[in-house]
Structure formats: structure tokens, C-alpha cells
Amino acid sequence: MDTVALLIIEVLNGISSLALTCAGLAIIFGMMRVINFAHGEFMMLGGYTTVVATNAGVNIWISMLILSPLVVGIIGILSERLLIRFFYGRLVDTLIATWGLSLLLIGIVTAIFGNYITGVSAPLGNFALGQYQLSVYRLVLIGLAVLLFVGIYLVFTRTRLGLIARGTMQNPDQAAALGISPPRVYMITFGIGAALTGLAGGLLAPISQIIPTVGFTYVAQAFITVITGGTGAVTGTIIASGIFGTVRQLVTYETTPIIGGVVLLIVAVVVLRLLPQGITGKIFRRSL
């Protein structure tokens, strides 16, 4: 009985950390169609912000929930202004340019902090589940992931800002004709996506090891998940995270995390072979 409960929590954990990893990308890539290969590095920067701020004496919740998104959001807007905006509409060039950005960010962080593993310990301590010890923080993380996606959904469907953003993504010329400046909308949306990515990096920092190259472990899984999600970026990402998170966690439980990652990829490739448009391309078509 305890084992089953443990497994359920593990699976929910797998889903929520995957969903957190994908949240920013769902907006930047899923909605804006901007391929940001520096996504993993934005997470890495979020993680470093939390680690550095916490070790400097800032409350860990403030560093995770406020500082990480703030810092990465600013870096995101800077990247958009200085680099990415020149490549809108040119997919392959964006891919290469953001990959250059990703290497550059790794290089800068390595130059500043060195190529060492850092981290912070998770707050809130443990609780006992039968014979197992579980971290309370992992439960909080599940709740935060749910809150985050509800928040994104509400912002993009219920607010004026979300309406403008969605309209601009659909038809920039029409939006411009209605007096909205598409470049500004792109900049702000990219900034929000980057901030969410930073937030995810910060939130996952206590349960992962942070090194400058940690982004690589996130980027492939995040892209695969958002791509498999399909055109309805938010709903699709949630569904895809649900499937892949479950598969990865169950396989990992039986074998090793590496095989878990391999199986995730294989499942994704097969799903994309069957549903080339992604999950929301075929079903849930009218979702966001």
C-alpha cells in the first residue's frame, strides 16, 4: 500500500517537473513558434540565481519565486532585443542563433562560477509515509506546477494581455492594423516565457544538481514534449507531460533514469510518427 502511494507520488512528481520544464517553452515555441534552443540555459540561469541568492542569505522562497523569474526574464528580453528578433520567421537561422546563445551562456556561467556542481537543499524537511521518507517540497512542487498552468491558462484566455498576445501570434499584420505593436508584443511574450523558464529552473534547483551544462538534460525533453503536445500549446503540453512523465517515471522506477530517458524519446518518436501534428492536432483541437 505504501509502495503504491509512493509510486503515485513519484509519477506525479515526474509529471510536474516535466511540465514545469516545458511551461516557458510552451509559450515561446508552442505559441510564438520561436525555436529557443537556449531554453535549457535559461533554466540553468534560473537555477544559478536561486543557488547564489540563497547562499548569500536571501530566503529560498524569495529567490525561487521572485528573483529567478526576474533575472531570467530580463536576460530573455535582452536576448530577444539583441539577437532573436532578427530571425523571426526564419526557423533554421533561429535554431542556430539560439544554439550559439546557449553555448555562449554556458561559457559565461562557466567563466564566472567554474565547472562545478552546486545546489541548495530543499526546504520544509521530510514526512514519513509508512516506511518511506518523502520530501514535503516535492509535494509542494506538484501543487505549484498545477497553479502555474492554471495561471498561464487564465492569463492567456481571460485577460486583455492574453487576448492581444494570441491575436498577434495568429495574425501580426491584422494586430498592427488595430494599433498594436507586434514587436512589443513579441518582446513581452518572450520575456514572460523566459521568466517562466527561470521560475522552473529555480523551483527545480533544490531537487537537482546545478552545473553550467545542466541545460542539455532539459532541452531535448522539453522540445519533444511541446512538439508532441501540438498546436494547442498549453493543453498539449499538459497532456504530453502527463504521458511522458508517467512513462519515464515508471520505467525509471523499474530500471535506471537513463533508460527512462531513452524510453521517453522512443515513445515520443512513435507518437510523432502516428500523430505528426501532435496530440492537439488531432484531438482537443479547439484548446489553447
Binding site: G107, A111, F223, I227, I258, V269
Partner: protein, 357 residues
């Protein structure tokens, strides 16, 4: 197979020029270079061949593969494991081509028949490389053995036998001979790719790059052509990996790491997408830069990620065409050839579609 060859065309002149240059290097190599330099040159030949494979599938097939290093590493490991088990290098060399090519067919089936577009393709190939990296790194245990070869995880496989004369396992090749073999293979691969590109198959590949939908309307099975082109590129990359091992006697999972994957893209980007010679020179230039950076103490805070990232961003912003097309355009514009610059530019523009050197 009809191959068009116009002796008066500049493309043919360029091809002859490249051929003469490579032959000269082949014949003069061991005379001109001492042993240390010769070994370095063998390494450069291996990376040049890797660059060639990427130049082919990206520049002509229009397939942006982020995991070309996976095929390179696969070829390297195939040779290493094969030669340790068999004790003779002829079959392992073939394996180092066939295994990556076969794997590319399998992967290509899912990607091209699933009609994944550019981005998805890039992500899937990148993920495949990273999975190889993670997997091979985790194989340091005793239980990961293929025949007599232990995979050794992140420590890598060492003391791998070098090439031997076919059929004579006990007479290994000297560095001079390895140079001859490597250079000959590079020349063969280069000209085979050139001939391939002038054949019907090559024309179709370029047509698909130019306009996939139109090629499909003309009745070509785009998925099949792309898969085969991808597999040819993988085979060439595997051969490069095999040369790399024979030079090094050593292989570790770092060939699957992102550093190499990034470098391959940079070679082609710097040399020029849609050319074959440019990327080879690009690989040479970057390898030399890399070596030079390693010897400079004043740049100790610079690391390879920083430098490579900056180079990629610079080129994609400032010289998106790459060096070879830019140089050719400048040459056509300013050098006193028989044609007027306007005519020459016109011809250059017309040639860009076929992308010949």
C-alpha cells in the same frame, strides 16, 4: 546514370583545381610533414570528412541534423569493438560505415516517413546523440561487454589496434600509410559525393531542398530520397569516426557530447552551407583555432563554449552565407576574369542553386 560534365564551366575548373590540390597533398604529405605534423594532419582529414558528411546532408539535402556526431561516434565505436573482436581491420572498417548508415535508415524512417519538419528533426537527432552519450557513459560496469570488448563507460576504450594490411592482422600500417589511406579515402568520398550530386539522384535531392512540394508533385518520393541521403551522410560520418579512432587508438563517449555536435554545425556554417570544400576548410580553421586557444595563457577565462557560441552568433548574424560563397562572390566581383563582373555575378547567382564549387 547520366552525369553532366561541361568542360568549359567554372564548376568543372573548380573541381579540377580542388582535385589537383588534394592529389598534391596526398603525394607530398609524408615528404613535407614530419611525424608529429603528419599525425595532426590525419586528425584533420578525419574531421574534414565529418564536415563533408554534414555539408552533404545539410547543404544539399536540406536536412539540418544536430546529431551528426552520433554517426561519427557510432562508426568509431563500431570500428573499435569490431577490431578488438576480430583482430583484423578490414571488416571493422566496413562495419564503421554500414552500422551508422543502417541506423540512419531506421531513424530516418521514423523522421522522414513521419514527415517531421526541420525543427523536430533537429530536436530528435540532438536527443539521439545525447542518449548515446548518457548510455555509453553509464557502461563502465563489468557487464557491458560486446564479445571481447568492454565498453568501459566514460573511461573510453583504449589501445585499439590501428589499420592493418587487408588479410594480414600482424602487419599494422605505419603513420605514412595511414595518411595515404585517409587522404585517398577523403579524395574518393569528395569526388563520389560530387558525382552523386551530378547524377539524377543528386539533382532530385537538391530539388527537394529547393521545393519539397514541387518535387513531390513531380512524382518523387521525397521521404525515400531524404532517408537515403541521410543514410549516405551517416555512412561518411561513420568512416570519419573510424579514421579518428585509427589515429587516436582511443575512443570515449565525448564524441557524443554536445561540443562535437556544435563544432560540426559551425564548420559548415563558417565554410558555407551548400558547398563541400568550404566546410572542410572550416573544420581545419576551427581545429587550428582550438589548438591555438589551448596554448594561449592570456585567454584562460575563455572556454570553448564561450568562443564557439560567440563564433556561431557572429556568423549567423554577419556572414550567414559562410566564407566560401562570400569569397567567391568577392572574387567574381573584383578579380579580372574574362567575363565582366556583371556577367560573372549573374552566373554565380545561377550557380548557387546547384551549389557547385
Amino acid at each position: 546514370m547520366k552525369i553532366s560534365l561541361d568542360l568549359k564551366s567554372w564548376n568543372t575548373h573548380g573541381l579540377i583545381f580542388v582535385g589537383v590540390l588534394m592529389l598534391a597533398l596526398l603525394l607530398a604529405g609524408p615528404e613535407v610533414f614530419d611525424l608529429f605534423v603528419l599525425l595532426k594532419v590525419i586528425l584533420f582529414i578525419s574531421t574534414a570528412m565529418l564536415a563533408l558528411s554534414m555539408a552533404f546532408i545539410w547543404g544539399f539535402g536540406g536536412i539540418l541534423c544536430f546529431g551528426q556526431s552520433a554517426f561519427f561516434g557510432l562508426g568509431a565505436y563500431a570500428y573499435a569493438i569490431g577490431v578488438i573482436n576480430i583482430g583484423e581491420s578490414t571488416v571493422p572498417i566496413l562495419l564503421s560505415v554500414l552500422i551508422p548508415a543502417g541506423f540512419a535508415i531506421l531513424l530516418g524512417y521514423f523522421m522522414f516517413y513521419g514527415r517531421l519538419s526541420d525543427i523536430y528533426l533537429a530536436v530528435v537527432t540532438l536527443a539521439v546523440t545525447l542518449i548515446f552519450y548518457a548510455f555509453i557513459r553509464s557502461t563502465s560496469g563489468e557487464e557491458y561487454v560486446i564479445g571481447n570488448a568492454r565498453l568501459m563507460g566514460f573511461n573510453g576504450i583504449s589501445s585499439i589496434p590501428v589499420f592493418n594490411w587487408p588479410g594480414f592482422p600482424n602487419s599494422p600500417l605505419w603513420p605514412d600509410d595511414i595518411f595515404y589511406v585517409a587522404m585517398t579515402l577523403l579524395i574518393l568520398v569528395y569526388f563520389s559525393l560530387r558525382i552523386l550530386l551530378r547524377s539524377h539522384f543528386g539533382r532530385v535531392i537538391v530539388a527537394i531542398r529547393e521545393n519539397e512540394t514541387r518535387a513531390e508533385y513531380l512524382g518523387y518520393d521525397v521521404r525515400f530520397y531524404k532517408m537515403i541521403a541521410f543514410s549516405i551522410g551517416a555512412g561518411v560520418a561513420g568512416l570519419a569516426g573510424c579514421l579518428f579512432v585509427s589515429f587516436n587508438n582511443f575512443i570515449n563517449p565525448d564524441v557524443f557530447a554536445l561540443g562535437l555536435a556544435a563544432q560540426i554545425i559551425m564548420w559548415v556554417l563558417i565554410g558555407g552551407v551548400g558547398t563541400l570544400v568550404g566546410p572542410m576548410l572550416g573544420s581545419l580553421a576551427l581545429q587550428m583555432l582550438y589548438n591555438w586557444l589551448g596554448t594561449q595563457s592570456f585567454v584562460s577565462f575563455l572556454n570553448t563554449y564561450l568562443v564557439f557560441g560567440a563564433i556561431i552568433i557572429f556568423f549567423v548574424l554577419a556572414v550567414p552565407q559562410g566564407l566560401q560563397p562570400t569569397a567567391r562572390l568577392l572574387a567574381l566581383r573584383f578579380l579580372p576574369f574574362t567575363r565582366s563582373p556583371e556577367e560573372a555575378e549573374e552566373a554565380a547567382r545561377a550557380r548557387q542553386g546547384s551549389g557547385d564549387d
